[in-house]
Symmetry: C2
Subunit: 134 residues, 2 copies
Amino acid sequence: MVDPAIVLYANEAFYLAFNTRDIDAMDRLWSRHTPSVCIHPGWRGLFDRDEIMISWRDIFDYNQAETVIVCHEPRVLFQGNIMSVVCYEELPQGWLIATNNFVVENEEIHIFHHQASACVNAQEISDVGKPTIQ
Amino acid sequence: MVDPAIVLYANEAFYLAFNTRDIDAMDRLWSRHTPSVCIHPGWRGLFDRDEIMISWRDIFDYNQAETVIVCHEPRVLFQGNIMSVVCYEELPQGWLIATNNFVVENEEIHIFHHQASACVNAQEISDVGKPTIQ
């Protein structure tokens, strides 16, 4: 079993890549071997790796105004041989809930699924930032 | 590898349980062995199986006005040893995009992850109802 700390680290690396608008780091994080999906809030699903990377590039270009995501209450779930992190994203525009799924490929952990969507009552969280392992 | 038709069948069974408000069928579908998560549109994440089933019961009670979901364009993705279906949900209130993840337990296929969220341009789909295997 993968150490949950490694899963949380990968999840943090995902948000660090977003917050620093580091497209190369985002590219290294995304899987090259597992069928992937990226669902930005309100968007249709993106399934093609190149299309997913273009979407991040477009978002980073659009976000020059320095939108930063603060990840709250990450929860690690071991599901089959994948690892899922469900967490809340605090943005200036509002709160989202995100699922980030990871898989180990060639001894490296990679994200292959991201879905972020509006969460109207996310602010009710009690343990801000406290990770949970399930 | 599980036949994609079986994954699509399980996905259809999920929407049939919803549309007929059959709480027993929904209960049979949900995993008992894999850490599960259910994210209804706008809701916080539900991680406890009993809490998930109560949420479906509440939604079914609330939906006596016969809200029906039409599932469009289901796409099956084999990710590690889990199977994911990403599809669009047409409801009277609007369109959603959903991820439904399945796992085989004791030779039966079960759902362990559901996240449905608003999709503003889902109506642009070209192949309504046509399944894709990835």
